[in-house]
Amino acid sequence: MSEPLFLFDLLLALAVVAIAAAALLVRDAFAMIVLFVVFGLLSALAWVRLAAPDVALAEAAIGTGLTGALLLKTLHHLRARGMAGWEPGAAAPRPVPRAVASLNAGLTLAVVAGLGVAILGSPLRVTGLEIAVAEAMPLSGVDNPVTAVLLNFRAYDTLMEVVVLLAAIIVVWQVERGADAAPAPSLGPIWQGFARLTLPAAAIVGVYLLWAGAEAPGGAFQGGAMLAAIGLMLLLTGLYRPHPDHRATARLLFVLGTVAFAAVALLVAGAGRASFEYPQGHAKTLILLIEGLVTISIAVTLTALFHGREPAALKGELRHDP
């Protein structure tokens, strides 16, 4: 490859490492979050360079975008709670002794250095599973190898990943039961208008990513994340306000993906087929069905994770158990 690209890689790698350290060390919490988002963007960029556009999409949308929004929301919440001067460090009453700090740093350095030496000292770059994947692709029902791995070869993993998301929303609702609402986010009229302009664009991109996932980078998770971005904007602009009556629907939407996926996995079994083994010729239909329903669940769950608290009913029900 040409020399500038080599320099580009080098600079990008150095920047990723430096920003990672800076995000942990910067004093201001808001700057920490902005740096974290920049770190995520640059990591996604690096992954594009490593020919992993699917992962870059997922990292940008979920790992960076939504995680950043969650961090920001939490910071907003903490600052709104009577601790106007809340800064990281204020919550840490006892400073770490210098000896302990350097011990920690030394230990970490030793671990990483040991790993690096061990890896460099061994033969690298064996063949992975790409040949097996390429051979099985015609049977998989889709044309994008990553989607084939996610929804066919390793569909069991993906089902469990959707379950992790379900577990997360159950835990979040459980933890924040009875918590008072944080002050609602406020947006002036101009920003409201801007948000309204952005909504359809995000919707189109989200559906496009889901649809494109069968042959190009994208798929249920990336598409779901883009749709969740719409949910975030609806919440932030106040266009949608969660109501206690919506809880039952929300629960149904949370579990929709898990149930559909697991049911298909079990129902296709029999007649000599194992679970998750789609009947010949029906793989594409079933995968699209699963992806569609899983996307809905992902979008709703991610939005609910951002909202946090279960929309509570009466004031009396708000008090948590003793």
């Binding site: 580009f8 600079l11 700057a31 991109v205 975030l232 904007m233």
Partner: protein, 87 residues
Amino acid sequence: MNTYLGLVALVLLASLLAGLVRVIRGPAPEARLMAGQLLGTTAVAILLVLWGLTGQSAFLDVAMVFAILAAVALIAFVALSNQGAGR
């Protein structure tokens, strides 16, 4: 051609990193936020250049998602840092 585009990508990356100074030093949240937005735009530009280099249309998808996320992030930052009220 490739060398030229590679140089462009390199310069864009360098300018992106230069913008980080504002993010770290602040001091106003607005300064950090605007710097972050500019970084996002530069990242989109880098992706477009990389697309020019490799011809893989997947880079365009990533660039599109970056662009949408930048808009959403802007709204989230504004709404959640109480900067947007009354503007």
